[in-house]
């Protein structure tokens, strides 16, 4: 039996709305965290829904609709929105990952960030820290820590092997902690290595 969706037009609309519209808020937040701009997030989400609707026939019922939609959004972001990126001085992703994958880097850069200092931070500080991380790493944190996707789902969304998901997540978290350590220092906490 063909698992792909096959409907009449009105049936397709109804099923599509039922499958995907409840994910709107989650998708919008994801888009906003990637684009860092409300208008761009708005456009990206609408664009994603339109693409999803267009290719709905290829969606396999019973599979993870959220992961499917997130993957479309991620691809749109990379292919289109990044081209007109408003992120001056963007760090080269390969260079960053290679640097963070070196054996002893954890010991060299991991600040002694304490739970009390993070608890004292307000949303803006956490948000700024997350937003200042390169998009590929930010994506990994958002998908795992916030959206709760499994490594396997992340591998599909990001089009990378599971091993790379793990190492990218590890590095992304290190980077976030470095940024937060700067804020913690500003709050008067000692965060020496």
């Amino acid at each position: 039996m063909d698992k792909n969706v096959s409907h009449t037009d009105s049936g397709k609309n109804t099923q599509f709305v039922k499958d995907f519209m409840p994910l709107l808020k989650s998708l919008y937040n994801f888009a906003y965290r990637l684009t860092l701009d409300e208008d761009d997030a708005n456009d990206l989400v609408q664009d994603t829904y339109m693409k999803a609707f267009r290719f709905y026939d290829t969606f396999e019922q019973g599979t993870n609709s959220k992961a499917w939609l997130f993957r479309i959004l991620k691809n749109s972001f990379i292919n289109e929105y990044r081209r007109k990126a408003k992120q001056p001085g963007k760090v080269d992703y390969q260079t960053v990952e290679a640097y963070y994958n070196s054996d002893d880097v954890d010991e060299l850069i991991t600040p002694d960030l304490r739970v009390e200092s993070v608890q004292d931070m307000i949303g803006d500080e956490i948000s700024r820290a997350l937003n200042s991380i390169d998009a590929d790493f930010r994506l990994a944190i958002i998908l795992c820590d916030i959206e709760g996707f499994t490594y396997e789902e992340m591998a599909k969304i990001l089009d990378i092997p599971i091993g790379t998901v793990r190492s990218r997540l590890h590095r992304a978290r290190q980077m976030l902690k470095e940024k937060l350590a700067n804020y913690a220092q500003g709050l008067g906490y000692n965060v020496g290595n």
């Binding site: 937040n29 960030l113 739970v115 931070m121 956490i126 944190i141 820590d145 937060l180």
Partner: protein
């Protein structure tokens, strides 16, 4: 002299082991909080945080960070007219990308 060299190697080994242990613990914490840890890794983390203050504080930090991120991220509502705009495009057959 032999004792000195022997001790130097011993210290070096211990130091490396300690770094590796920290990395192993950190990785296991990530896996555990991500819901991807094996039973063995979960046991390893639980034992560590029970008997080691340093490990306990690292574990609490990771949990705290996630809670902060979740609280922060889920707070943004989609614009009011967005759902309507998407539905209109779908029903109007404007999906010609």
């Amino acid at each position: 002299m032999f004792n000195f060299i022997s001790k130097w190697f011993q210290t070096g080994t211990d130091s490396t082991k300690s770094i590796e242990d920290k990395k192993k613990f950190q990785e296991a914490v990530y896996l555990m909080l991500d819901g991807e840890a094996s039973l063995e890794q979960q046991k390893f983390v639980m034992e560590k945080i029970k008997c080691c203050q340093y490990s306990n504080s690292k574990y609490e930090l990771e949990k705290c960070l996630r809670d902060k991120l979740k609280a922060l991220y889920c707070s943004k509502e989609a614009p009011n007219n967005m759902e309507q705009a998407i539905l209109q495009k779908i029903t109007a057959g404007q999906v010609n990308l």
